[in-house]
Assembly symmetry: C2
Homo-oligomer: 344 residues x 2
Amino acid sequence: MSLAFDGFYRGKNVLVTGGLGFIGSNLAIHLAGLGARVTVVDSSIAGCGANGFNLDSAAAAVRVVACDIADTEQVRSALEGVDLVFNLAGEISHIHSMLFPERDLQINTVAQLRFLETVARFAPRIRVVYASTRQVYGSPQYLPVDEHHTVEPADYNGVHKLAACHYHTFLTRIGRIDALVLRLSNVFGPRMALSIPCQGFLSVFTARAMLGQPITVFGTGQQLRDPIYVDDACEAFLRAGMAVNPAVRVINVGSPEVRSLKEIAGEFSQMAGLPAPELRPFPDDLKAIDIGDYYTCNSSCQRVLGWVPTTPFRAGLDNTLAYYAGRLAHYLPDHAQGRCPLHP
Amino acid sequence: MSLAFDGFYRGKNVLVTGGLGFIGSNLAIHLAGLGARVTVVDSSIAGCGANGFNLDSAAAAVRVVACDIADTEQVRSALEGVDLVFNLAGEISHIHSMLFPERDLQINTVAQLRFLETVARFAPRIRVVYASTRQVYGSPQYLPVDEHHTVEPADYNGVHKLAACHYHTFLTRIGRIDALVLRLSNVFGPRMALSIPCQGFLSVFTARAMLGQPITVFGTGQQLRDPIYVDDACEAFLRAGMAVNPAVRVINVGSPEVRSLKEIAGEFSQMAGLPAPELRPFPDDLKAIDIGDYYTCNSSCQRVLGWVPTTPFRAGLDNTLAYYAGRLAHYLPDHAQGRCPLHP
């Protein structure tokens, strides 16, 4: 974390939804380190990536409430005295959403509506920072992708996450909450779920690197991406929590380092002493929702948050593999990449 | 109806969802007149505007199935042998959506997801024409509003209708259905619900004109609108049903005649022999979701559908008031503008 945050978070009461998940748990740990009083709300829905072990290093400093954000009564109680909300609860898997669209709608839209209505009623006008995704843009029509780019979600997950984004922005415009939305590029790092192969290529590559299994890439491998290290994503959240009256309420956040999937797979393979990645034809279901090249225009991030992601990809990758070494049993309990709990 | 449609609809099996409602019933009657075999599906949810009397003039020619579009089994049965779907089921009231957001989500998003999954599974790749709304754009950033305009819904209804629009477009891109989406401006004409004051200003103005009650306008009355007569909206649907492989899947449709709300209220008042409209301050709940000026760029409509709306506003207004004369008991049973069934 490059920034001291000048004591802003010291003593603040902060709620992190989805705080047992990948980014949420990293954020909760950073917040505890900055002196915040952190409450995590998480319902540990199978397939979404919650893992109690994620908070192992901060167990004494973080209060965990097992509840769904759609549970008005429990959320109301958890919101008492809260100064800020980091809203990261959700399902990120595009594949799960295409297999079980109503499940995705329930988790990403219905529950968010109920949660934000609860916030607006019982903790009105507090800052909410929401984890949105590049996924809402669909296939880029130009690069880098800025916030004015047409939204054209490519799958159910994108539609449902976009609806939740619009909840945040319109409720802010009418003065019922005070939200900022971060549209994150692909995030990687410690505490990613490795046992859910439908959570994206960075999770799959990490699992295979840790298990010593050769990595495969679908298609030509030429698709560009800008993977962002999780500490940078957390810094974006922390800065968004502090931004005073920002004129812009939707901010793209990605890494300035752009690489092809094949290059990314190559770096994972090299670090793990694996053979070069193998290219394989796209399975039909994945091809249908593939979006081609994507990388982020960080100019709003620079302007509104005063900063852009800084961790070099290679350093992030080092940290990631170092984290899992010795902790693999907590992420891949069978010492083999898991089958998805949703379609075993 | 300016077009013979060259027999395209003769003998076609057509399903109209929301076919007891305002636009749906007008469309069903036009389709029956063109020789189509029409099935209407409608669940008559209170507050959405269904009225059995709307199909009175075509009762023998139109089959009515009382079912919710979310009911997979009944929809599957209704879809048997169907060649085209006109998908107009929904709740249009912005005010209802702000009072009962989860109800709006259920009607406009959850039910549409289930309906389209049923279509994709049991009647794959058939043409679906969906009734979307200018509401998804929010406050215009430029005029006239084309389909590239940023979507920034101003209320729950807009968020939920936009999600359903995205279902139609992404399922079309991946080849599971073949949809066209019409983003309609404010529509008026015979068969509007008059007893639901939350359905928009054209319904309110019509009810007051018929009842001989002076019309009031909120704010300065200078907000521009392009009200489209319902027969023109129906022609847009019929043309969209026929469009072969259109490159564009979202089409704005509005009237080329642009007027201020005050002028529109003035024409209603004049036709009904009422005093000039009175201006009143905006109530807070309406002001919060007001979008300012709006009028439509019809160039995609012209290019893809080969036509733009043609009915002069004044002629549409004549037809509208003439329709309700003698039928008012079916639309305002208490001979007073109803209180909304949702918040009496």
